[in-house]
Each structure stands twice: as C-alpha cells, then as structure tokens.
Subunit: 541 residues, 2 copies
C-alpha cells in the first residue's frame, strides 16, 4: 500500500476523461494536479521510545519485528480517512508511531501488552490500516510514546470445521486471503467491504463492518461466532457456540471495540459453501421513494437479493457522469428511460449468489416483486459494471484529492419509517454546509444494506477543496451531517465504525449510562488505558 | 398461577392412565399421591422491611402496589424450577420476599431502585415467575431485606411501527397478550417458549430465551432491536436501530442479564406478518445420527422449517408411552415402522409457517431434502399432536411430582461436529448419576433448534424421587450433566438462562476475564449490588 493513499502505485483504476471534465466544470476546479510530497520530505519526529521498553518489545517479538524506519513509520502514521490523506499528502506525519511492532503469535501480543502496560506506552492495533474514521491514527494521549501493533504476521487459518461450516482465522488475513484460503475448501466468508483488497479479518471484527453482500451473507457481527482477545489484564476466550443463554453476549462487547479493549488474535467465523452462480443486474425506479418501497417489500417478504443497492436521483445521475458516459450513449440511455417514463429516476443493483438453481429461483421471485413495485429491468450489464468497479472508489479518491476535490463518504442506518426523513435531512445539511463554505457540492446517496426493520444510507459528497482550510471545510460538512443524522433518528455509523471522527456522537448514540458501562469494561480490561487511546470513547479512559 | 406449581388449579392437562401405569412400573413408584401442603401451613418469616423503606416504596408506586399478604409472598417465593417446586410443595418459603412491589411506570421503577439502593434492599425483578433455573428466587445476599419487583402492571403496547415491522412493548405483557395485541394489527412476534402462557416479554429478554419456533423466527436476541433499562445509576436507553457499527452492542449486555444490571422497562421488537398458514408434520428416521444429519443438511441449505425437533431413540419410545398409546395402536404403529425398516428409530416434527404459497413451496423443498436424507413422512397427525400438547409439559410435571417422580429438563447447544459427542456424554453422565443414587432413570433428548453451525439439545430425565433427599438427588444429576456438557464443548444453557442453578459453570463458560468484565459492568450500574443478587455471576458483586 502506498503511504499517501490507496493501493499500489500502479496500475490503478482511473477516472475517465469525460468524468474529469465534468467535475472540473461542475466544481470549478483549477485543473492543476497536486502530487503528494516525497517520502523524504515527510515531517517525522525522532522516535522516543525508552531503550528498556524497546528491549522488552524485541524480547517479545524478535528484533525484526520492531521497526522504526521512515517508510514503516509513515505507513502507520494514519489510516485512509479524508483528513488522514490530506495530512499524509502534505507530509504531516508528526503523529507517526515511535515504533511499529510485528508480533507473530498470541503470546507475543500478550508480551507486548504487558511491556506497554508496565511502561505506559500507547498501543494502536493495526490490521489493513484502511480505517476511514481515524481508527488507527496513533494517539499518544497522556503517554510519552505510542506504538503501532501491526498484525500482518498473524495470518493462519487455524481450523476449518466442515460439518459445522465454521473456520478459525487469524486477524492479519486480508480479505482476498480469507477468500482464497476458504475457497480452497469450497467455502466463502462472503464479506466484501469496499476495502476488501487490504482490510483484514481482525479489522472487520474490531470495526463491526458490513460488506457489499451483507444483505445476504450478514454483517461481520452475524458471521463471528467466537473469538480470542488479548487484553492487558488477560485473555477473553469465547468459543464458537451456535447460541447460548448463559448471560450477556460478551462477544458483542469485543466486536466493534476498535482495539480499545484488547487485540483480537483469532476469530471463529461462519462460512458458507462458495457460490456456484452469481447474478448481478440493474433495475430502474421512477424515484428513490418508489425504489426504497420496492426494496422494503422484498426484504420483508424474505426475498431480498444478497446485494441490494439503490441510488437516489442525484447519485444515479452522478454515477452515469463519472462512469465516463457521454455523447450518443448517454443520450440513448436517457431517451430509453424517458420513453418508458423513468426519466430522472434511480438505478438499483441487485445481486444473487448461491447454488445455480437457488439463484434462478430466488432471482425469479425477486424480479417479480421488483417489477410489481414499479421496477424496470435493465438486464445484466449495469450489474456487471458495478461488480467490476466495486473496489475502485478509494483509488479514484486519490485522483480526486490530487485534483483539489474534497471527497468523502458517510453512512447511517434507520428504521424504514424514518429513512426518507434521514435522507433528506443529511442531504440538506451537507448542501447547506458546503454552500456556507462557498464550495457548493455534488451529493449522492444510496441504500446499501437491507434489514427487516430498516436500511442503511451511504452518502458521497464532492466539492472543491478550500485551499489552506481543507480540514476545517471537511469538519464543517461532517459535523453538519452527523448532527442531522442523530436528530433524524439514524445511527452515527452503519459500518465505518467510530474511530476518532465519530467519537463526539457516542454520547448521543448510547447515552451517558451506556458510555459509563463501556468505560467500566475498558477500565477492567485495560486499567492503564494504553489500548488505542483517543478512539471510540470520548474523554479518554 | 398456583403457588405450588404450574398454571391454574383446573382444568389441567393430565397424564393418560397407561402412561401412569408405565412410569409406576418403570420407576418403581409407590403409587401414592403427595399433595402440596395447604397455603396456611407454608412456613414464612415475618416481613422485615424497615417502615421508612416501606414508606418510600409506597410513595414510589402507591399503597396498593406494596403487598405482603401470605399468598402474594408465597407466589413470589420461587420460580418454577424442580428445586423450587420441591420446596414450595413442602411449604418451605422462608426465603419469600419481605414485600412484593407492583410499579406501574418506568418512573415508579426508578424510584423503587433509588429507595432500595439507598436502604440496601435486594431487588428481584419478577415477570411471569416461570424461571426454571432459580432466576427469581429471592436472595437476600448481605442485605437485611429483599423485595420482589413484579412487572405485571407494565403491559402496554407503546407503539407499533408498521412500515418498519417493529413494536415497542412493556415488559409485563405475557406471551398470549403479546400475540393478541400484535395479532390485532396482523402481526406476530412468533416467540413460543414452553412457558408461553405465563412468561412475559421482559422475562424473554432478560433470560435470552428461545421459543419453539425460533429456528424460523429467531431467538429473542434476534428479535429485540432496542430497549430501555432502568438501573440504580441511570437509564440505558438504546433505540431500535436496524444495525450499527458505533462500538460494542450494548443491547447484548442487557439481553440475558437476568435482572442483575437493572429492570427492562420496554423493548422494541421485530414483528412479522401473522402467518396465514401453519403446517406441522411428523417424520421418522432410522437413527438420531441419521435424523441430525438430515436437519443439518436442511439448515445449511437455508431450507429449515420454522419448527424443527428430532427426538433420540429413547425419547421417541418414551413419548409414545407417555402419550398413552398401548395395545393395538402401539403394536400397529410399531409394525408399520418395522415393515419400512424404521424400527427403533426417531421421531421428528417439522413445522412451516407463513403465507400459504410460501409455506407450500418451502415445505415441498424441505420434504424433498428430508426424504433424500432418509426421512419417512408420517403425515400431519404427529405434527398436530405435538402442536396441541406443546405447552403441557409443566402441568404434567406437577402430576409427576405428586407421584414422587424426579423430573427435570436441561439444554445445551454445540457445533454440529461436536453434537453427537455432547449427546452421548450427557446421557451417560445422567445415567451414571441416577444409578449411583440407586434411582435408575428414563432419559430422553431432542434437537430443539437449528443453526448453521450447530444445534441445541434438550434433555428430559425422570427417576423415582429419593425420599428425604430430593434436592441432593437432583443436584447430583444436574452437576453430572453440567460437567459433561462443559467437558464436551457445549454451552451450559441454550435457553433456560443461568439463574442460580447454572452459576457455578459461568467461569467455564466465559472465563475469568469474561466474568471480570461482567462484574465491572454490574458494579458500574449497580454499585450497591441490590439487583437480583445470587444470580448469574458467581461470588456476588
């Protein structure tokens, strides 16, 4: 992964030329390309870990597992949030960890936590480093030093239990590795967040993530059956029981704890037979309201596809523009939709996966319901196109940043009865905030996951960067959206987690008593407060 | 509810005469019937609540909400576990609560908790009082007084959100009331534990219960979306979000907390359209192993019925005997099964619910898979018979107790790969334990709930009571079964909860660190330790 953005240096998905032209005109960009600073120009503080602590870390993980070279420290200085990337591209890495530690076992992690608890050194667990909410940013808090604890060396498949369709996996396995290793046994986890190529299993669990097919396969919290978590005061070891009534479900305390309680060193997950067939297709609706009602009907009838996405009017138009369509193709498509009465409507993607006959049966039932609810089938091409480009977003974001674009996404979930209210409130809040900064934006939204009681909304917005005030501009928009979400009855995050960016809304999310309980759990497991400080829980330990 | 057993005095389901004869012979019973003592003969201590505390309780809930008459105290002196009933029938109610308090609002409950925290009075939340694990037994712990907090006056349907298919319910609503109130809106919760007729919504949530149709409708933890919990230090108020990645899921800390953290004063639950069709039928398998494999195949293919039960060989034979079949009918059935090659096999009940066409489609797919897996269809009669008698167990238990029978049930869940091992281990442990006491028993088991990764096992055992050592005999069998379950990889309880009876296994269930976290949460919410002491967490606060 490049230290200033997403993925490898090359080859990379790129914006088509017409898309760039469109954005340059719409957002009044200056056309300049701003590369990130050179690695050598990045500002870093000298590491300041005491020698005796470093010796203990070396004893815990071996000499080659403790690194403080420039590239390693810069790579671990941030995740991949918009503010992270703005700072990284500028070369502002003063918060880089003092060292990066690469343990290769549960015992090694325990030894690192022991050493850091004793010495008062902050520990930031690091999986794929793909957090978009500041979740892996090194925060020293009240400590003199901070280490990044990179789990890349823990990537074993510990066990596959075929009769039970479960697997025990180590946290450093990246998405594609999980699928390759399970795929060799004819199985799949089916967890495909946009960060899939780099994100890790441990990160999925620690951030309570959802993937693009989670409407069908379930969120990670529905896929994790057991886990082992090394904490500063001992191990939490929860076996993969199918269900239990033995008290509160402690697993749900670790899932989503974002490294603030300890380090997940293995997880037992539910696997499924790898799908023999995948069918993705495009549907069109006259309006977002009509499409949302169609998806609600499907979901509540138990007929939802595994992937279900519905763009609002604005995102539908924007996606078409950013896909590079122009001239005859664009006009032809628009003419067809207008002729059918769908001008200015909304694109949906529906995807079914599984055994071929079940896919055919489920797709037939789903299609009938979609049609009855007003949907117009566009065939497989839009589905294939979505599937082809489904991990491209973070690459294109780098290009947009280089062109001086503020680009951010945020997500929520709410009950069906409140969903359209949340949608409108957030669009208005973002629109107002960007106008107020003098940088009117493009704002789109899609429904990304369905539940019987509601759905998630995923917003994307683009605006011209306010040169010299990039972070203030971003914060103003983010704050406006967050306030609108909470006021309208949504959750502050459906699958990006809390990190540092959503911390200020945690009190609204779980209440003062809820925060107090989370803090009590943290104080029990991590009395010194070394685990990922400055994340999740406002006000520190 | 009668104070010495289950349900009303009359009419009651009764054991058929041939069943009584069979048990009398098999268990070497003496044929005597032992009625419970008269209410007036029950031993009670004088209430010892300080007058100033009583005044505060009266101020909190009104004078008619604070009761200490004999019948009320005796009714709240125990739940409905085997040891509870043995003690109640003997008239041993010395642990009865000093008073029983009936609040009618969230604010009233807060005021009661404030008063009891200040005065150091233990509080035992009481829903239907149907716990079979000692969950509502009044334990004074280190306090001078204990009250039972009966939630019978909180039984409003606060809200029904039809587009979202959710409802906000108060905790005192009993199972039939929940169904009647939702049914009037065309909805169902679909939660039918054997205690359905008396158990309450708050009790379902507090004990993390499962119902007979939970394979289809989901366990209560899958049906609860939000809740409000009054604790001694403040309210936990968690709105019904369809999903969230905002940190750990605090709802899962309250679900299953068994009144040790606070009192659930409302819950937002998922509802479904009331089913237009119900189809229950009987299937037969050559062996428990064959039947379990058939159910695993169905579940993992996403084709499980909503109700799925499979008795082992022993329970199948026992059920037939206890149903009262004898003579020609018994011989004819046995001849038919022998002719088909199923002699000595296992009975399964499969039930489908929902829209008629979906029931037909799902049933056809399920039946094809069951047949392919070796199942023999017995048609609708066995399914109807199971459905008719599905809440009878606790009534018949009273009759068995009167006849001097030790009768107990216990349940676990484990991964499919370990399920048959757990089954054998528990059967052997119970068999050994009962033989050792000189009271060889009848032991049966059925699979009661299916999950992709495993299933639950529900054991029933019967033996002649050891006169004068009824509780020691019970404890020996229970301990042997619990040890076998934990050693073989099962959970100590799948849906009966922990109460006091399973407390000794909590350390094995969640580990020392897990217990420490649960205690920390409890200390945060209930620093004085008044909430349901002596339950769930061994060693008290």
């Amino acid at each position: 992964m490049v230290w200033w953005g997403w993925g490898k240096e090359a080859p990379r998905p790129r914006l088509p030329e017409p898309a760039t032209e469109f954005l340059t005109a719409q957002l009044e960009l200056d056309g300049r390309v701003r590369p990130p600073v050179e690695l050598e120009a990045v500002k870093l503080r000298a590491p300041r870990l005491a020698a005796r602590v470093r010796d203990r870390l070396v004893a815990a993980v071996g000499g080659d597992g403790v690194r403080d070279d420039r590239r390693t420290r810069v790579l671990h200085a941030a995740g991949k949030s918009y503010p992270d990337l703005v700072r990284q591209r500028r070369g502002d890495c003063q918060q880089a960890p003092d060292v990066v530690v690469f343990p290769d076992s549960h015992a090694g992690i325990q030894a690192v936590l022991d050493a850091c608890s004793a010495a008062g050194v902050a520990v930031v667990p690091f999986g794929g480093g793909t957090s978009v909410v500041g979740g892996v940013d090194p925060v020293r808090d009240r400590f003199d030093a901070v280490i990044s604890l990179d789990l890349a060396r823990l990537r074993e498949v510990v066990e596959v239990d075929e009769p039970s369709l479960t697997a025990v996996l180590e946290p450093g396995l990246r998405g594609p590795e999980v699928e390759a290793r399970l795929g060799a046994r004819g199985l799949t986890l089916g967890h495909y967040p946009q960060s899939f190529e780099y994100a890790t299993l441990g990160g999925f669990v620690a951030t309570r993530s959802a993937g693009q097919a989670s409407t069908g396969y379930g969120r990670i919290d529905e896929l994790v059956l057991g886990l082992r978590c090394a904490t500063p005061t001992g191990d939490l070891d929860l076996p993969p029981l199918p269900a239990s009534a033995a008290g509160p479900q402690l697993r749900e305390l670790v899932v989503g704890s974002e490294g603030t309680l300890g380090v997940i060193t293995r997880a037992a997950v539910r696997a499924r037979p790898a799908p023999g067939a995948r069918r993705y297709e495009g549907w069109f609706f006259r309006s977002f309201v009509e499409g949302a009602e169609a998806l609600r009907t499907l979901e509540q009838a138990g007929a939802a596809p595994d992937v279900a996405r519905l763009s609002d009017e604005s995102e539908t138009a924007l996606s078409l523009r950013l896909s590079g369509a122009r001239g005859p193709a664009l006009r032809l498509g628009a003419l067809y939709l207008r002729a059918r009465g769908y001008a200015g409507g909304c694109l949906a993607v529906a995807g079914w996966e599984g055994e071929p006959d079940e896919v055919a049966r489920r797709r037939a039932r789903g299609a009938a319901l979609l049609r009855r609810a007003g949907g117009l089938s566009l065939g497989a091409a839009p589905g294939r196109e979505w599937h082809r480009t489904r991990f491209s977003g973070p690459y294109l974001r780098d290009e947009l940043l280089a062109r001086g674009v503020l680009v951010e996404t945020l997500e929520t979930a709410a009950q069906w009865s409140q969903l359209m209210g949340v949608h409108q409130a957030v669009v208005h809040a973002l629109d107002d905030a960007l106008h107020t900064r003098g940088t009117p934006g493009l704002i789109g939204c899609h429904i990304s996951h369905l539940y019987p009681s509601g759905a998630s909304l995923y917003f994307t917005f683009l605006a011209r960067q306010e040169s010299g005030a990039e972070l203030e501009q971003w914060r103003a928009a983010k704050r406006a959206a967050g306030a609108a979400i909470k006021a309208a009855g949504g959750t502050i995050t459906h699958h990006h987690a809390v990190g540092s960016d959503h911390m200020e809304w945690m009190a609204a999310e779980v209440g003062a008593t809820g925060l107090a309980v989370l803090r009590a759990a943290r104080e029990e497991l991590d009395p010194v407060g070394i685990m990922n400080p400055g994340k999740l829980l406002p006000g520190g330990v």
